[in-house]
Amino acid sequence: MSTFVSDFKTRATEKAGDLRHRQVIRTALRGYEIVRDKRKAAFQSWESARQAAAETKWEAVNHLDKHLEALTAKLEARGTKVHWASTGEQAREIIAQILRDKKARCIIKSKSMTSEEIHLNHALEKEGFTVVESDLGEFIVQLRHEPPYHLVFPSMHLTRGEIKDLFQKELGDAPSDAPEELTMVARRVMRQKYIQADVGFTGANFAIAETGMISITENEGNARLTAALPKTMVTLIGIEKVLPRFADLALFLPMLATAGAGQPMTCYNTMYSGPRQPGECDGPEEWHVVLLDNRRTELLADAEQRDALHCIRCGACLNVCPIFRNVGGHTYGTTYSGPVGAVITPHLRGLQEWKHLSNASSLCGACTEACPVKIDLHHHLLQNRRNASASEPAFFERLAYQIFGIVANEPAFWSLAKKLGWLTQPLQKVVKGSALDPARAWTKTRDLPAQPRESFKDWWRNRK
C-alpha cells in the first residue's frame, strides 16, 4: 500500500469518527443548500443554464488551442507579458524570476488554488520572499501553516473561537470572537502589507479569449487591492479557465456565485485587460500572465473524462458530498479535494497512487447532480476504478470476483453458498467484530442481518 493510501485511510478513519468535526462542518454548510436552491430558483431555468454552461465549456475545452492563442494575442496587444508553463516547476521558476528581476521582497496574494497546486508559497518562501495571503480564509490557514481545507472556504473547519485564539497567538490582537472584530484585526495587518508589497499575485476565475481579459471573483475586495496597489502584477491561470466570449460571463458569474455560495452574485467581479495604459492613472505598470498546463493536456487527451476540465472550482460538489463532509478537506492530501479532486488528481498526479480517492465513494451521485457545468463526476470515479483495475489488478480482489462469478453463475453453487452462510451464522455470532471475524470490516460497527433458513429461491421452488 502506498503512503498516499495509508495516510488517507488513517486520516479518514480518524476524521470520520470525530463528532466535533462532523458538527463543525455541518454547521458551516447548514443553510448552504437552502440559499443555493433559492438562488437557483431565480434562474429562469437552472437546468437550461447548466446545459448552456456545459456547452460553452465544451466549446472552450475542445478548441482550447484556438482560444488560448486568441487570448494571448489580445493580452499581448495591450502590453501584458504572457508566459507558458508546461509544469508546476516551470511556473514556479517563471514567477520567481519575475520577482528576482523586480528585486521584490514582499508579495501580496489573492486567492489562487492553482498556486496551491504548484506549491508556490513554499517555493517562494524558500527563496527568501515574504508571501502574504490576503483572502481572509487563506490568511487564517496561512497563519496555521495549513493548506486550504476547501476550494472556496479555506478555513471552514475552524470555529470563531479557534480563529480568535490563533489571532491572539500569531498577531497579538483579538478583542473577541465576533467576525467583524476579527476581520478588522486581519485588515489592519493586511493594509500594511498591500502598501509594502512589491508584487501583487492573483489567480483567475475565467480568461476571456475574445477580449483578452481575466475575470476575478471575490467577496472581500482583497483581490482588487492586490491587483491595484503593487507596481507589478502576476497572474497564474490553468489553461482550462478560458471562456470563448465576454458575454459568457453573463452566465458564468451568477452561476459560480450560486453554485459556490448560494449568492446571486459574488460581491466583486473584476475584469483585467492589461497593465496601466498611457494616460491611465492607476493599475500595475507591468502585468505577467502565466498559463499553466501541469498535465491538464493529458486530461484533455482523454475523450471520456475531458469534461472534468469544465470545472469552475465552485466547490458545489464538495459541499454536497457525504464523503467530504465526513472526512474533511485535509484528509484527501491533495490540492483539489472532494469529488472533483478524486476525479482529476489521478490524472494530474498518477492513477495508481491516487486511485484510492476514486474508490472512497459510495457513488451516490450527489456531486454530479450539484455540478453547475454538468461534469459526469461519479461516473468518472467508476472509469478511474476500471482503468486502475485494468492496468494493475489487485490479485486477491480479482480472484474473489472470479470465484464469485463461478458461484453466481451456477445455481447449485449459489444454493450451497447460501446454505453455508446459514449454517455458519451461529459461529459468526461468536466471533462477531473480533479479529477472527472475516466480516470484521462490517461487524466492527454494524450488525449483520439474520439470514433466514428459506431463501427467496427456496420459497419459489417449493411453491411451484
Binding site: N326, A366, F456
Partner: protein
C-alpha cells in the same frame, strides 16, 4: 403481462420477504410472474470495483436469460440501474451491445413499474405506522425515481409519511462499506440521525441493501427505529 422478476442476490439470501411481497403484489394485479432460477446477481460488485471483465462474466448469462422477457422488474434501484444504465456501458462494443440496450429498455425498478408502467398506486395496503422514506441513490439519481414510491405510500391506509430534511446517502455503497468502513459508518450515522429526527417508527426503502446498512447500525446502537422494504409495506394488510 408476463413479468420476469429479478430478485437480487442479497435479497434472495437475506430478505426473501421483500421478494415474496413483490410476487404476491404482481400476481394480485393479474400478471404472470416468472423468476429465472439461474439468475443470481447482476454483476454490480465487480463492476463498481473496476473489474469489468469479471462483471461481464456474471452479466452475460443474465442478459441472455432476459433476452426474451416482456418486462423485467428488479427489486432494487441499485441493481435496476446496473441493468438499465450500466449494462449498455459494460457491453459497449461487444457482441451483446444491442441486446444490452434492448433489455435495458424493457427493465423497470419495482415501484417505477407499478406506477409508471402499470399506472397503479393503490394496492389496498394498510400499514398503521409513521414512516420515513429513504431514496437509494442509484434509484434516485441514475433512474430518477422519486415520486413513484411516494405515490404508492400515499395510498397506504393509516400510514403517515414524514420526509427527512436531508437527502443523503446511507453510506452502504457495496464494497465501499467494507473498503472504507469508518467513512461508511459515519455516513450511516448521519442518515440514522436524520431519520430519527422525523420521529418515524419505520424507515422504508426500495433498496434492501441500504436498509441492511441502516438496520445494521440501528441494531448495533440499540436504536428503536425499524426498517422495512417498500414491497412489504405495500403487501401489508
Amino acid at each position: 403481462m408476463t413479468v420476469t422478476l429479478f430478485i437480487p442476490c442479497f435479497m434472495d439470501a437475506l430478505y426473501p420477504r421483500a421478494g415474496i411481497s413483490m410476487v404476491e403484489i404482481l400476481e394480485r394485479l393479474g400478471h404472470q410472474v416468472v423468476c429465472p432460477e439461474e439468475i443470481a446477481c447482476c454483476g454490480q460488485p465487480p463492476f463498481n470495483s473496476g473489474y469489468w471483465n469479471e462483471a461481464r462474466t456474471i452479466a452475460t448469462p443474465v442478459l441472455e436469460k432476459l433476452a426474451d422477457a416482456e418486462a423485467v422488474v428488479i427489486g432494487s434501484g441499485s441493481c435496476g440501474a446496473m441493468v438499465k444504465n450500466f449494462y449498455p456501458e459494460l457491453f459497449k462494443a461487444t457482441r451483446h451491445a444491442e441486446l444490452a440496450k434492448q433489455v435495458a429498455a424493457r427493465t423497470w425498478e419495482f415501484s417505477d413499474f407499478l406506477v409508471s408502467k402499470l399506472g397503479v398506486t393503490d394496492l389496498g395496503a394498510k400499514f398503521p405506522h409513521k414512516v420515513t422514506f429513504h431514496d437509494g441513490c442509484h434509484g434516485l439519481r441514475e433512474l430518477g425515481i422519486h415520486k413513484q414510491p411516494r405515490a404508492l405510500l400515499a395510498k397506504v391506509r393509516e400510514l403517515e409519511l414524514v420526509e427527512m430534511t436531508e437527502v443523503s446517502c446511507c453510506g452502504f455503497g457495496g464494497t465501499f462499506a467494507a473498503k472504507f468502513p469508518m467513512i461508511s459508518t459515519a455516513m450511516g450515522e448521519v442518515k440514522c440521525a436524520s431519520a430519527a429526527e422525523t420521529g418515524a417508527e419505520y424507515i422504508v426503502s426500495s433498496d434492501s441493501s441500504c436498509l441492511m446498512h441502516i438496520q445494521g447500525l440501528l441494531s448495533r446502537q440499540g436504536k428503536p427505529t425499524k426498517t422495512v422494504s417498500l414491497a412489504e409495506v405495500l403487501n401489508h394488510q
